[in-house]
């Protein structure tokens, strides 16, 4: 259909012959925050990431329709089929794939309260000639708001099956499943001037939006679709009453209020600190590390290995740099509890709808660094895992912003494992010394961001963020999402912990560790003023900085570091690149040259800032503490 007319002939055949077993693939699609992932869970019985932040679902979730072989694919939310950013391209590719192959059906999930916006997509699906089922989700909320939708009339007008659901409670889901076999191409008689319809249909047919510049007719195309969608919505849905869900509405407004928004932000950060810093890194780590590992696991494993006659093999597992006593112990006893509590807290924030509001509150701060409030999502997620966060920089619209966000993540955002260790260490020093760490790290981030924003070519994207209604997160979603992320994290981190331990073990056996510690002495002792053994920590810091931080934590607990040394060590290790996986991720997203440049910039900077902090702290009289 290279030169498709403005209106295509209607009455296409159903995607699947009546009586056939059903489509081979179902693609879920819809605007952000309409409950796609909830419907996905209900259809497949499998849990996917249910997110409240537009653009979080960068990954695609797949599952099988309950009791069948039909594949169900969940896609990131979008407002127009034609992609305007990298993450929207994912859905576009899925739809085109579904269109190209036979037996695939699109289930468009719509917010029943917002029919006009949803119908824009339905009309586009019609122009793409994709067999569709329209699902009016959250129909309970619509009813509460006094919205009445004539589903039968809508069905007749659009020519596709229309079903109402409340996906979170599983209502109407069976009806969606049985409607799959009668999916049709939505009617596509859309009044549109020829100079808009021509290029728009061409764009839909070609499947490629021109890189960079967005064609000028696109907004007029959207306007024409909206006008027609509004007309259909007006015919079959009554208007909402302005009241209803008052509490959620008020909460949502308070969270972005020019004055009240700040206490809310402070409360959220305090809550995050209490959960991750105090409970996770304190209580839980104590329980698991001191109680479980030091009390039971390590002595038991050591006694188990006592029968092994070779000292080398014994040390490999249970020695000073033992895979179990150091690698697993750090990974499972210290890092895991912290990561798990952080991801739980993050999932709660995500599903409550607070994160986009955080973007509103922090927009000004990020603008100094050449970004906008949207960057807060990768940054906050970076507090969980920088590597994962590097992947989500895709939600940022311009190349420059993605690069800036990656640089800042790699430079200064401590991941939860490291943050937990840092918070635990900082608890041992005076508040003023802890403040030095924060000022140093935040100052370097802002300074580097400000400079890089001016040096890097390109533009900052526009700040346009949808604020979903505030909702009470569902416990099941939060827990399953946390479990999925912790699993991802363990797969990423544990092998590196073991590898790092193994490297140290080999270096130690080969008597190289001492020479490396000696070689690092001018830098570590001379510049940073740390004990020579800290070299070993920084060495493994190249693999994972939280591993290094944990090592330093161990040293400080033994009384090996004074206040200045502790803060200097923390600042330096915080500014290290998070881990080797992060470097790989940057290379994957932006190429090896960028990754190498970022690494070559960050490591010297980390030591330089560490040295500077030492001089400043000694000058301020912290040395006497």
């Amino acid at each position: 259909m290279a030169t498709a007319p403005a209106t295509l002939p209607e009455g296409p055949a159903p995607a699947v012959a009546p009586g056939a077993p059903g489509p081979r693939r179902v693609v879920l699609l819809g605007n952000p925050n309409v409950g796609k992932s909830a419907l996905f869970n209900a259809l497949t019985g499998l849990r996917a990431t249910v997110s409240n932040y537009p653009g979080t679902t960068v990954e695609i979730y797949r599952g099988r329709l309950l009791g069948t072989e039909t594949e169900v694919v969940d896609s990131p939310g979008l407002n127009s089929i034609l992609p305007l950013s990298e993450d929207e391209r994912v859905t576009w590719d899925l739809v085109r794939q579904a269109r190209a192959e036979g037996g695939a059906v699109v289930v468009q999930v719509a917010d029943a309260k917002n029919l006009r916006r949803a119908l824009l997509l339905t009309l586009q699906l019609g122009q793409l000639e994709v067999p569709t089922v329209l699902v009016l989700n959250m129909s309970d909320e619509a009813r509460e708001r006094g919205i009445r939708i004539d589903a039968a009339g809508l069905e007749a007008a659009l020519g596709v099956p229309v079903r109402a659901t409340v996906a979170t409670r599983g209502l109407g889901v069976d009806e969606v499943t049985s409607a799959l076999t009668s999916a049709r191409v939505p009617r596509n008689h859309i009044p549109m001037s020829e100079d808009v319809a021509g290029p728009a249909l061409q764009l839909l047919a070609d499947g490629e939006t021109p890189p960079g510049a967005v064609p000028a007719f696109l907004s007029r195309y959207h306007e024409a679709l909206l006008a027609h969608a509004g007309e259909i919505a007006g015919r079959f849905a009554t208007d909402a009453e302005p009241r209803g869900r008052a509490f959620s509405r008020h909460l949502g407004r308070i969270a972005v209020h020019p004055a009240w928004g700040w206490p809310v932000l402070a409360a959220v950060l305090w809550g995050l600190y209490e959960v991750v810093g105090v409970f996770g890194a304190g209580t839980l780590v104590d329980l698991v590390e001191t109680g479980l590992f030091h009390g039971y696991v390590n002595p038991w494993v050591t006694s188990l290995f006592a029968v092994v006659p070779w000292a080398a093999a014994r040390d490999l597992f249970v020695g000073e740099y033992g895979l179990i006593t150091m690698g697993l112990s750090y990974g499972l006893a210290i890092v895991l509890p912290i990561v798990a509590t952080f991801f739980t807290a993050f999932a709660l924030l995500e599903d409550s709808g607070y994160l986009p509001r955080l973007a509103v509150m922090t927009d000004r701060i990020f603008r100094v660094m050449g970004l906008n409030g949207k960057a807060v999502l990768p940054m906050v997620l970076g507090l969980g895992c920088d590597t994962m966060a590097t992947l989500t920089t895709r939600i940022l619209p311009t190349r420059k912003e993605r690069l800036l966000a990656m640089l800042l993540l790699a430079l200064g955002v401590p991941c939860s494992a490291q943050l937990g260790v840092i918070l635990a260490m900082l608890a041992a020093v005076p508040v003023s010394a802890a403040a030095v760490w924060f000022v140093a790290v935040a100052g370097v981030m802002v300074a580097v961001g400000w400079l890089a924003a001016r040096l890097l070519p390109g533009e900052r994207g526009d700040f346009v963020v949808e604020l979903p209604p505030m909702r009470l997160p569902s416990l099941g979603n939060v827990l399953s999402k946390t479990a999925a992320r912790v699993e991802w994290y363990l797969k990423e981190a544990l092998p590196l912990f073991l590898l790092g331990t193994f490297v140290l073990f080999v270096l130690d056996r080969a008597r190289l560790l001492d020479s490396i510690i000696r070689a690092g002495q001018p830098l570590v002792t001379g510049v940073l003023g740390l004990p020579a053994e800290a070299s070993a920590a920084f060495l493994i810091g190249f693999l994972r900085r939280d591993f290094a931080a944990t090592r330093l934590f161990d040293m400080s607990r033994g009384g090996g570091l004074d206040v200045v040394q502790l803060v200097v060590a923390m600042v330096t290790i915080t500014l290290f690149i998070p881990c080797i996986a992060n470097v790989f991720m940057i290379a994957k997203e932006r190429g090896w040259r960028t990754a190498a440049a970022i690494a070559a910039f960050i490591f010297p900077l980390a030591f330089a800032v560490g040295g500077l902090v030492r001089v400043v702290m000694l000058g301020l009289g912290f040395g006497g503490i």
Binding site: R116, S219, E223
Partner: protein, 151 residues
């Protein structure tokens, strides 16, 4: 809305009852048989239906009452960036970079769509129907409002 070609566009007002647009003044008061139709009366009558509204430009009391009730007098709107917080408007057109316009229209911004500006800082927060969207100043400047329909 009935739209008539008006010579003095800036003085034109819309009748809140019947939607008729007219320029206040003239003899419509007397024609409708108003008992207080003398001199500097601070109410205006729609020439079509006779509905009376206070002329806030002439009456301090009307302005005070309006302020006490928390409803401000209508103002010329311009772009969304110039609309005071808490006010409603209707989109007249979008102006700016094609990429931004494509994004805004996909979000539902289009001529004729009613918007409600919730707040202006830290960023603009605007409601269109059931959708709430946060935008920055330069995006708000791209959304031109219909002067006559703002309230």
């Amino acid at each position: 809305m009935t739209t008539l070609p008006l010579a003095a566009g800036s003085d034109a007002v819309t009748c809140a009852l019947c939607g008729f647009e007219y320029v206040p003044g003239g003899d419509s008061c007397r024609e409708h048989g108003c008992p207080v139709a003398f001199g500097t009366c601070a109410t205006r009558h729609c020439p079509r239906c006779g509905y009376a509204v206070p002329d806030e430009r002439r009456s301090l009391t009307a302005r005070l009452v309006r302020r006490l009730l928390g409803r401000r007098p209508p103002a010329a709107a311009g772009t969304l960036a110039e609309l005071p917080a808490g006010r409603h408007g209707v989109v007249a057109r979008l102006e700016g970079d094609p990429g931004l316009l494509a994004r805004l229209t996909a979000q539902g911004f289009a001529p004729g769509v009613a918007v409600h500006l919730v707040q202006r800082t830290p960023t603009f927060v605007v409601e269109l129907g059931e959708t709430t969207i946060a935008v920055e100043q330069r995006v708000a400047e791209a959304i031109v409002l219909d002067d006559t329909a703002s309230r």
